[in-house]
């Protein structure tokens, strides 16, 4: 019996003990061997080296006309004294056509004529504004319904007068963004049925001081909205009803900026300009090393133009192929734009630092891509703000790359 019974322990219990011991050993199969290093005595002899390198950029060119204000995601409204290097700008909004008859009830299949027009309301979405400006008002002006995307500042300026002012929206000094609206009397658009039920308005910033406001555009889903308040007959009873329309055209107009000398490199403006830039990055860096940070340094050749105290965000895109100005861009994820963009403060010549780390990393993993980037403003075409930095013949841009050369594990 020896071997099967051990001092009161049955063989079954012993087997359980063995299983438990084995299980305990296997359950302990984890490890935590991470420890603070004792260097250099007990560290691997080869450390990680980080190298900084600054190199000039190669050929650059500017191309214009990418995004016009009518296709931009926002409208920039600058008060008369609110710009630096750019003139005042006005918003132009033409709404989709209204109708002269509406459903009295939602389930009605037949439209009933409008008995009387009570009022209108215009709502705009304030995206940004000059934060320190006080007492800003948005003036709403009646514009001819024939206005279209070819309209110029000079053509529309006569309509921004007191005689055509049909409403104002006072912005609270603490409001930085959000929806604002104002009611406009029906008499403001006496001829709207005769104008094919179309209504067009202009928007301008009214401020005694330097000020600007950016409002949303329909291209970004934040366009202005027109509401119509009427009364209709419902079985002998006059009932109030409402109808709404989004903008079919929204844009802003401004005096043409001073044309820079030929060859000047510029990013931004409206219609927007882009810079096509070739970068001559050594293969030892982009192909063989690990780039941990890459920054394009743009030194403005003149103060940045735009709304006073505003900033211009400049972002760089890698290209899937180099077809010159029509090269297809590799898009930047929306949540990365703020991290990668370089911001230029209007009125200054501070160096603009555009992050290129992801661009060089894409080149590392896709060596077939051209070492060419396109610089553009973001959002593009939404403001007249622009950065000018040197000329094609004498580019002032530099590329600063911080990288880790190939690491060699010790043998």
């Amino acid at each position: 019996m020896r071997g099967t019974v051990v001092r009161g322990l049955t063989a079954k219990r012993v087997r359980r003990l063995a299983v438990a011991l084995t299980g305990a050993a296997l359950l302990g199969c984890g490890q935590d061997v991470t420890a603070p290093g004792v260097c250099p005595e007990f560290c691997p002899p080869v450390g990680v080296q980080v190298v900084d390198s600054i190199m000039p950029t190669a050929a650059d060119s500017t191309f214009d006309g990418y995004v016009s204000s009518y296709a931009a995601s926002a409208l920039e409204l600058i008060a008369a004294p609110g710009g630096f290097g750019v003139g005042p700008s006005r918003g132009v909004i033409r709404f989709f056509a209204l109708r002269d008859s509406l459903r009295v009830n939602a389930i009605d299949t037949v439209l009933a004529p409008i008995a009387s027009t009570d009022s209108f309301a215009v709502q705009v979405d304030v995206l940004r504004r000059r934060a320190d400006a006080k007492g800003i008002r948005l003036g709403i002006y009646r514009l001819p319904t024939t206005v279209d995307s070819t309209a110029t500042y000079a053509q529309l300026e006569p309509y921004f007068q007191d005689s055509t002012l049909i409403g104002t929206i006072a912005l609270d000094d603490t409001l930085q963004n959000g929806l604002v609206s104002t009611s406009i009397p029906a008499s403001a658009f006496p001829g709207w049925p005769a104008d094919s039920f179309v209504v067009a308005v202009g928007v301008a910033v009214l401020s005694p001081d330097s000020a600007w406001v950016n409002i949303g555009a329909v291209e970004a889903g934040s366009g202005a909205q027109l509401s119509l308040y009427v009364h209709q007959d419902s079985s002998g009873t006059s009932v109030p009803r409402q109808d709404s329309r989004l903008s079919g055209l929204d844009m802003f107009v401004a005096p043409p900026p001073v044309v820079p000398p030929a060859g000047v490199l510029a990013v931004g403006g409206s219609p927007s300009s882009r810079v096509l830039m070739h970068l001559d990055v050594p293969s030892a860096i982009v192909d063989s090393s690990s780039v941990v940070r890459a920054t394009l340094l743009l030194v403005p050749s003149e103060p940045v133009i735009g709304g006073s105290q505003d900033t211009v965000a400049v972002i760089a895109h890698a290209l899937t192929a180099d077809f010159g100005p029509k090269s297809p861009l590799i898009l930047v994820p929306a949540d990365s734009i703020a991290l990668r963009a370089g911001n230029a403060l209007v009125g200054t010549r501070d160096t603009v630092r555009v992050d290129l780390t992801d661009v060089l990393r894409v080149w590392h993993t896709h060596p077939e891509l051209p070492h060419t980037i396109i610089l553009r403003a973001t959002p593009e075409g939404a403001t007249g703000a622009a950065v000018r930095f040197g000329t094609s013949a004498a580019p002032s841009a530099k590329l600063e790359v911080t990288y880790i050369p190939p690491y060699k594990f010790r043998g």
Binding site: G3, V6, G28, Q31, P40, S290, Y407
Partner: protein
């Protein structure tokens, strides 16, 4: 034959699990931390039984003492801390499978065989350091992590011939193989710098051979001796040979005293000529020493004696270590205790061992608690 195939399959099937026997701060130096290919029983005896343990790769003749086909598996969990140059690390732990094997007689012939898989040197470490570097004219904090997870494995085969009741001789061959997953990373305190990480695969290739003898002088005195010669170890990173290191010759001797059936006193001494690798490792700043170790232990109620099913073991071990960052040779001292439990009609034996190991030298003081569980099966 079916039993042999089954046990061989079990043993070889466990090969991928062989990773590293120990980790130590000294794993960073040289070819790693030289491991102890020992069973739980021999560990409990301070390594003094290594020369006579049928599964110890130290002596190819030792498998002659096995009367039946047998397989073993070993699991070891360590808890470690160290102090070095004002740096203190605690709470480090890892679990490894330092030795598995199968051995037994070849039928009724006087020939016995043994197949083992163990760890030759441990290459597991994970070092984290912080520093400040100047980048773009600004100081930037960095945290580096450099790691290796793996080991140099020793796959051994041995044949022993029982020449007489008093003499057994054996020869063996060893294939050194294995790999380590290497990693290095750097994280910057300024998050505008992207983290850096790189992985590599390091593999090892080498071989060795050995010969040994066991002599039963009297019923109470048994002697053992062995010589092992390992050739060069080729080291490759991502399939590219990056280095070659000369490996040592090992000379070992042992004494097993059995004054009574219920008592074993066993001692093993070992000498390894690691300085053969000095020239190969000089470039890494590693100072190489020859090593000496002595282990001795007492076993009350050995499992084969039939006296008890629960043997008690105590041991002591002293060993010098081969790799140091400076001219001071580190060493370790170990105190061990263990027991075992026979069951299933003596066909199964579970051994457990607790070791307290203290390493010092080269500016380091390292303390280890090691818990080893071994299972021996005899179908």
């Amino acid at each position: 034959m079916r039993r042999l195939l089954l046990l061989t399959g079990l043993a070889l099937g466990g090969l991928p699990a062989v990773a590293a026997a120990q980790t130590s701060i000294f794993s960073v130096r040289g070819i790693g931390f030289p491991a102890r290919e020992a069973s739980a029983r021999s560990r409990a005896l301070g390594g003094g039984f290594d020369m006579f343990d049928p599964f110890s790769p130290l002596n190819p003749a030792s498998s002659a003492s096995l009367g039946a086909l047998t397989a073993i598996g070993t699991s070891s969990t360590e808890f470690r801390s160290y102090d070095a140059n004002s740096v203190t690390a605690t709470g480090l732990h890892d679990t490894r499978f330092p030795l598995i094997g199968v051995a037994g007689p070849a039928g009724s012939s006087p020939i016995s065989f043994r197949l083992t898989a163990g760890t030759y040197a441990d290459r597991t470490y994970d070092v984290s350091t912080t520093d400040t570097v100047m980048l773009r004219g600004q100081p930037v904090g960095v945290t580096d992590q450099i790691g290796s997870d793996g080991a140099i494995a020793d796959i051994g085969g041995a044949l022993a011939w029982t020449v007489s009741r008093h003499l057994a001789i054996g020869v063996g061959v060893h294939a050194l193989t294995g790999s380590s997953q290497l990693s290095v990373s750097r994280v910057f305190g300024d998050t505008t710098y992207r983290p850096y990480a790189l992985r590599g695969h390091q593999s090892y290739e080498g071989f060795g051979f050995d010969g040994g003898v066991m002599i039963q002088l009297t019923r109470a005195i048994q002697l053992g001796a062995s010589v092992r010669s390992d050739r060069r170890l080729d080291i490759s990173v991502d399939s590219l040979v990056t280095g070659s290191v000369a490996l040592p010759t090992t000379i070992a001797g042992g004494l097993l005293l059995t004054p009574s059936k219920a008592l074993h006193w066993t001692t093993t001494v070992t000498r390894r000529s690691w300085t053969r690798a000095a020239a190969d490792l000089a470039g890494s700043g590693t100072v190489v020493f020859n090593t000496f170790s002595i282990g001795s232990g007492i076993e009350l109620g050995p499992p084969e004696s039939g006296v008890s099913n629960i043997p008690l073991r105590f041991g002591f071990r002293y060993a010098t270590l081969p790799f140091s960052p400076n001219a001071e040779q580190p060493h370790e001292v170990g105190l061990t205790a263990g027991t075992g439990l026979l069951f299933a009609k003596n066909r199964a034996l579970v051994n457990v061992t607790l070791e307290r190991i203290m390493r010092s030298g080269a500016g380091v003081s390292e303390h280890v608690w090691a818990f080893t569980v071994g299972m021996r099966l005899r179908p």
